[in-house]
Structures are given as C-alpha cells and as structure tokens.
C-alpha cells in the first residue's frame, strides 16, 4: 500500500508562499530592527551603544526570570504570581552569600570575584528551587484548573514570601556592590561598555542556548514541548505530566532565583518588592512571546529591555507605559503572541 499515490500529499508540504514564510520569520527580525531604528532615533553613537547594551542586558535578565514561568503556564495552565517571590528570595540569598564572601568580592582577582558570584548564584538557585518544590506542593497543587483561585492563592504566596524576607533580612533594602572585576566599564573612545552588562548578556545567552538545546535535543525536552501542546496525549503515551510539571516548576523557580541575583547585581540594591516590580515586565514578556514558548519569551524579553532603555532616553515620560504599549501592539498584530505554541 502507499499513500504517496495520493496526489494531495506532495502539495500539502510544498513550501508555502514567500510572503507567508517571511511572515513566519518576522518575529526574529524585530530585535535587529529595533536596534537599527533606535540608532536612527537616538542619532548619537556612544549613547546608542550604551543604551543598546543596557537594553540587551536587561532583556536577558528578564528572559532568565520569565523562561520558567512561560513553561509552567504552557504545561499546566497555571498562572503563578508567586514567581516574583523566587526572584526576591534569590536576590536576598545571593546577596547574603556575597556579603559573607566579602573578602573574595573585593580581592583584586577576577577568579575570586567570579567564584563569589558563582557561589551566590548556586546557593540562590538551590534555595529557590527547593522553595519552588514546596510552593508547588502546598500552594499550587490544590488549585489546578481554577484560574481565579490561582491568582489569589499565588498572590497570597508572594505577599507571605515578602513578609518572610522582612522577617529574616530586616525591613530595609540592602545595598549590594558588585565584585571588583565587574565594576566599571571598558572605554573605547567615546563608547563605554559596562563590564557587568556584558556578563549579563553572556550569561543570558548561555541559558537560552542551553534551554533550547535541552528542549530540542533531549527526550525530556521533547516531552515538555509535547506536554505544552497536549498534556492529555502525553499521559496517554504513558508519561506522568505531573512529574514533568514539578520538574519544570522547580527549574523555573531556580532560574527565577538566578535572575534575582543578576538583577540585584545590576541594580546594586535589593528590596523585598523587587520581585513584584519586575514580575510585571516578566508577565508582559510571557504574553508577548506566546504562552509556553521559550523562543518567543527570548525575543519578547529583548524587545522589552530595548524598549525600556530607548524610551527612557528618548521620551522619559513614556518609559513607564512603553512596554504595555508594546504588548498591546504585539497582541493586535498577533493575538496569540509572537511565536505561539501550536496547541494540537
């Protein structure tokens, strides 16, 4: 037997028209286009360079914080406002480790500086990962499938976490100085390239590539992508989506903790509310990218980072609303986000 005799078969996979293919590629060109338009509007090369690097760094950090959240939503339809708690807790745990390793932070050695940061990151990720596990069991599990309850309960979790931070670390914000080697900038003529921003961009890019690799190349990653499309069918193939979900939830919480450390070092100031503040941007990014889409989340995060920095320079009064405007525009163009996951 053969179905290739079916004359419809070859036509069904013939490449779609050029316009359609370009439209599918379009989201990937938005970030480069924004950078070019930014240069035209700003007109000042050094300022543009600084803003672009700042925007990319900010975008990468938001991506790190948002990547887990988008998968959590895609896999189990869970709206988790508690995600902001992991960002704050990660920042506080990381800051505590770095303050405890003050000698390494101020030593004139790149390696000791980095060792302190790595120790802070690993500790923060371990703590927020563990916290994520507990949060899923205690707070999220009882409200599966009920969105309104999820919003209320996870918001409650966020508030409790903020109070716990006040209890443990005191009511005041904590200043955090970057380690010696990550302070300052490399200066080329008029262009100053801040060292920490370069590190943030590099770290974000590595996380993105690693996540992408895991989602495309490993069986576990395939299961997660399949589960985002159709969780029921993944179960019918014999896999427990609950287990996948717990894994993604823990990994996403740990990444939020990592993002919290990065954000804290970026702002050089840590507050219990920082998680909630940045969570708004995180949600915008998850929505712009398309729920459940890691690649969309990446593109959306870079857009948001650039938008915040460019408008902050060009039209400071608009800066606050610019990302909400960005979201509205993207959703009018693509109601399901830039790179939606095909729900099968």
């Amino acid at each position: 037997m053969s179905d290739t005799s079916n004359p419809a078969a070859p036509a069904a996979i013939a490449p779609p028209p050029l316009a359609e293919r370009l439209a599918a590629q379009l989201p990937y060109w938005i970030v480069p286009a924004m950078v070019v338009v930014g240069l035209a509007l700003i007109g000042d090369l050094p300022a543009w360079g600084t803003l672009t690097l700042a925007g990319l760094a900010m975008g990468m950090m938001i991506f790190v914080m948002a990547s887990g959240l988008t998968l959590v939503f895609g896999l189990m339809d869970v709206l988790n406002f508690g995600h902001g708690a992991f960002i704050s807790v990660g920042a506080f745990v990381g800051a505590s480790v770095m303050l405890a390793l003050g000698g390494w932070m101020t030593a004139p050695s790149l390696w000791l500086n980095l060792a302190a940061v790595v120790a802070a990151i690993l500790t923060a990720m371990a703590v927020t990962g563990g916290l994520g596990y507990a949060f899923e069991r205690v707070i999220v599990r009882p409200v599966y499938g009920a969105h309104l309850k999820q919003i209320l309960v996870t918001m409650g979790g966020l508030i409790v976490a903020e109070e716990l931070i006040h209890l443990i670390w005191g009511p005041n914000e904590i200043p955090l100085t970057r380690p010696l080697a990550l302070r300052g900038a490399w200066v080329f003529g008029e262009v100053a390239i801040e060292k920490y921003r370069v590190l943030a961009v590099a770290l974000g890019a590595i996380i993105f590539l690693a996540l992408r690799w895991a989602l495309v190349r490993t069986k576990l990653g395939l299961l997660i992508r399949a589960g985002v499309e159709n969780a029921e069918m993944v179960e019918a193939l014999g896999y427990r989506v609950r287990m996948l979900f717990i894994l993604v939830f823990v990994a996403g919480s740990a990444l939020a903790g990592l993002g919290g450390v990065m954000w804290g070092l970026y702002e050089e100031l840590i507050t219990a509310q920082m998680g909630l503040n940045v969570l708004i941007l995180v949600f915008i990014v998850v929505i712009i990218g398309g729920l459940g889409s890691v690649e969309g989340c990446f593109v959306g995060a870079l857009m948001v980072g650039l938008m915040a920095n460019y408008t902050g320079y060009l039209a400071p009064k608009l800066a606050l609303g610019s990302n909400i405007l960005l979201m509205v525009i993207v959703l009018m163009w693509r109601p399901r986000g830039l790179l939606p996951v095909g729900k099968g």
């Binding site: 079916n6 419809a8 499309e229 193939l237 099968g344």
Partner: protein
C-alpha cells in the same frame, strides 16, 4: 448482553460516566475479545468517544468496572493504563504539531530507541512517514497526520489499541490504504477496539461489533451477522450499511 467471554481482553460492566453534571454513559456493557477487532458503532453523540476515554482513564467511571486482562483498571491513571499495554489514537489524532514525525514516534517508543525493523514495518504501512521523517508533524496533511497517530500507537507492540474514527475526513484512496494497514495490524495478534462511521471500513475489518445508543450498548455480536442483516442495521443505525459505501 453476554457476560465476559473467557477470552476477553477488555470488559466494561455497567459503566456510568459523568462529564461535569451530564450523565453521558448510562451503564455500558462491552466485551472486547482477545486478538480480534471489535467495531464500536452508533450515531453521533451516542457515547463512543466517551467510552474510549473512560477506558483510557481520561474520564473516570462513576459506577461499574473496566477490566483489562483480569485487572481492574476502573480507577487507574492514564499513564498506568498506557503502560499496561494500551495505546490510544484519539478522534482528533492529537499529534504533536511542533515536533517532527521522528520526535512524535520517539516519544511513543517508551522502552528505548526506535527499533529499526519495527520502523521498516511502519514505513511499509505508511511510506509518507519515511518521506517526511524530519518535518514538523503540523505540516502533514490530514491523512498523513492520521497515519502518524496510528504509527505512534504501534511503534512498539501493544496488547490493545483504541482507534477513534480513523477515516474521519479522509479521501477514499487513503481509506483503502488504512484498511490494508489495519489488516496487517490484525495479523500481529494485536487486539483492536475501533470506532468508525465509515460502514465500508467497519465491514471490511470488524470481527465483532457493538452498537451504542444514548450511552448504552444496544447490540453486540459478530460483524458478519450485522452486515448480513439489513433490517437489523436499519433498526440500530437508522440506515442500511450498503447505503454508506
């Protein structure tokens, strides 16, 4: 309604299923003999898909029992039922559109890497899958998606395969190909429970038949018997099978 035959692989006894506040299955009795193909017929909304989903644990029976190979699976979870050797080809196929044909099959092969000889057999049944091996499954045509959905169910040997309306929306040439594939499957001793609206297909491949109406099985017996009895067809299905070819 006959009780479970000694060689029944799957037995539903007095199964009731509620979906939300709706009482959909109202005491389904169904026996699927080991090694054969049982056709599940019935008009739209009779409860065929709901029966399949109840067997698979995607809905849970509120009363009655589902027994697989002597084991009570009424309250079992879907992944556990799957791992007892039950494969499911749902009505909407549920292929993973963002994954390639290969990746769809990799996930279906739970126990390890894809076996070459098994793949060759599948490619023999569905050559299109070989051709579009590395293509995202979402790009396949409707018929090819159906073939992928069936391939996913047979990528490793299973004891029981549930197939819900495989010919839905397919061209006659593909239906013929599907009949041949199902006949090959039957030759492998796999037990099949199939829902079908296409009576031509039903008659070609069915060994036994159960007809549902309003959430109950209203007739069960040999396929040949129903196929030969126009009056019975008209009474059970509202139409003669011949008029559906």
């Amino acid at each position: 309604m006959p009780d479970a035959l000694p060689d029944a692989l799957l037995t539903l006894a007095g199964v009731h299923t509620h979906i939300a506040q709706y009482h959909i299955l109202q005491g389904v009795d169904l026996t699927v003999p080991r090694g054969g193909l049982t056709m599940l017929l019935g008009r739209n909304g009779a409860g065929k898909t709901t029966t399949m989903r109840t067997i698979m644990g995607l809905w849970h029976a509120s009363a009655g029992s589902v027994t697989l190979d002597g084991r009570d699976i009424t309250a079992a979870q879907t992944p556990d039922i799957s791992r007892l050797g039950v494969a499911y080809v749902p009505e909407n196929m549920a292929i993973f559109a963002g994954l390639t044909v290969r990746e769809n099959l990799v996930l279906a092969a739970r126990s390890g890497p894809l076996a070459d000889d098994r793949l060759d057999w599948i490619f023999g049944l569905f050559p299109a899958l070989k051709k579009f091996w590395a293509l995202p499954a979402g790009n396949l045509s409707g018929g090819q998606k159906q073939m992928l959905a069936i391939a996913r169910a047979v990528v490793e040997p299973r004891d029981l395969i549930l197939i819900d309306e495989p010919t839905k929306g397919l061209a006659p040439a593909i239906v013929q190909a599907l009949i041949e594939a199902v006949n090959e499957l039957k030759a492998t001793d796999t037990t099949i429970l199939m829902v079908e609206q296409n009576f031509h297909m039903a008659r070609m491949v069915g060994d036994t038949v159960a007809v549902m109406d309003d959430g109950r099985v209203v007739h069960a017996g040999a396929m040949a018997e129903l196929a030969a009895d126009d009056a019975l067809q008209t009474r059970l299905l509202g139409l003669s099978m011949d008029s559906h070819q």
